[in-house]
Structures are given as C-alpha cells and as structure tokens.
C-alpha cells in the first residue's frame, strides 16, 4: 500500500482565500518531505520542501507544516489565485545516499485544487 496519502481528492476554494492541502504519511522513518504542483499536461513542479528536524517552512505565498507526532503534512497557499489551479502532491523520502541525492520519492495520490471566481 501507499505510505503517503491525502485526505481529500478535490479542494474547491474562492479566489483570494487561503488554501490548505493536507497529507498523511505512515513511515515514521521518513526524514524529508516535498510538495509538488502538477498542471494539466505537465510534469510535477517543485514548490517547497521540509526536513524532519523542522516544523514549519515558508516560501513565497506558501507554507509547509510538519507534525511528526501524528505524521501529518500540510501545504498552505495564501491568497489563492487562478494560476494555483492544479493537482498538488506530497512526497516523502526515507533514504539518502551519502553526499546528497535520493533513491526515489514516494508520492501520494494528489489533491486537485479548484479555484472559484
């Protein structure tokens, strides 16, 4: 089964409101988490990442929160815009070769964010 999953397949928000997309993971050994945005017909695009030694990380209009106690990850998008319409995936990584890199990410199924005018 999947070790990373999302609570809702679709999230509809009003333009200008804040969006919160949630993700649950089951592997307590995971030490690195990433959020990707995938627009229709395109490859996933990196948004923001967070390591397990952090609880919060902010980017431009986005914030990722990590709660290791309940193995929960969330992505907050401030002032949602039409261009934010996409499918959002969380991904986790549990191993890392020395010197950097990864042996692959485990992805959840994704949440489709729909922006209403």
């Amino acid at each position: 089964g999947e070790s990373v999953g999302l609570h809702l397949p679709t999230l509809s928000v009003q333009e200008g409101d804040n969006s919160i997309i949630n993700c649950a993971y089951s592997n307590s050994a995971s030490d690195y988490f990433i959020w990707y945005k995938q627009e229709s017909g395109k490859g996933p695009q990196f948004i923001i990442d967070i390591r397990s030694n952090m609880d919060k990380r902010q980017g431009q209009r986005v914030t990722v929160l990590l709660n290791k106690t309940v193995k929960h990850l969330s992505l907050q998008i401030a002032a949602t815009q039409p261009g934010d319409s996409a499918v959002y995936f969380c991904a986790e990584n549990t191993e890392m070769y020395s010197g950097g890199g990864a042996d692959g990410l485990t992805f959840g199924k994704g949440t489709h964010l729909i922006i209403q005018p």
């Binding site: 395109k42 990442d49 950097g100 890199g101």
Partner: protein
C-alpha cells in the same frame, strides 16, 4: 539549461511492440529516475540510477528495462508492450538537493 528533456511526447503502440523512451538532462545530476503516472493516481517509481553504469529497480519494474551509459541519458525500454503499460511516463533527475526535477512526460497508449 533545458533541464530534463523527454521524447517522444506521445506514442501509440500495438500490443507486443517495443519502444524506447528517451530522457536526457543537462544539469550534471548523478541521480535519475523513471516514474509512471496512471489516471488519478500518484507517481510510482519504475527504475532509478545513482550514476553512470548503475541502475536499480523501483516499485514497479516488471516489463521495463533501463541503461545508464552516460551521466546525461537514461532511456527506458519497453519490451512486448501490454495494455497495462498505458500511462504517462516521467523522467526526473536530482543532484545535491533531494528534490527531483521532472521532464514534461511521455503519454503512451498501448492498443
């Protein structure tokens, strides 16, 4: 930099045919990956490589083969195509950072 380049973008195969999906990256990344994405699903890892000459199986390797003769290229080979291999295939690479750079994908239909 072009990033990760995948060809072709679209392909229709008949059952039993073979083909190679091409992937190239110009970021000098050591790590490269192939994922498949089925409708409404997340991405599943097929194969990955940590450097030229080294490849390893991912979660769903059956029916596929890869090679990594150079740092830049990581082709994915489908032998004896089956309808279950109808999917969108993404190639990705990573360097010192652990997040992956993805290509734009190859949409494959097996009929």
């Amino acid at each position: 930099n072009a990033g990760v380049t995948q060809t072709p973008k679209f392909r229709i195969l008949k059952i039993g045919q073979s083909m190679t999906l091409q992937c190239a990256q110009d970021m000098n990344h050591n790590y490269m990956y192939w994922y498949r994405q089925d409708p409404g699903m997340g991405l599943k890892l097929i194969y990955y490589s940590v450097g030229a000459g080294i490849t390893d199986k991912g979660e769903v390797p059956n029916g596929y083969n890869v090679s990594r003769s150079t740092t830049e290229d990581f082709p994915l080979r489908l032998e004896l195509a089956a309808p279950s291999q109808t999917s969108v295939y993404f190639c990705a690479s990573s360097g010192r950072a652990r997040w992956l750079h993805f290509g734009s994908g190859t949409r494959l239909t097996v009929v």
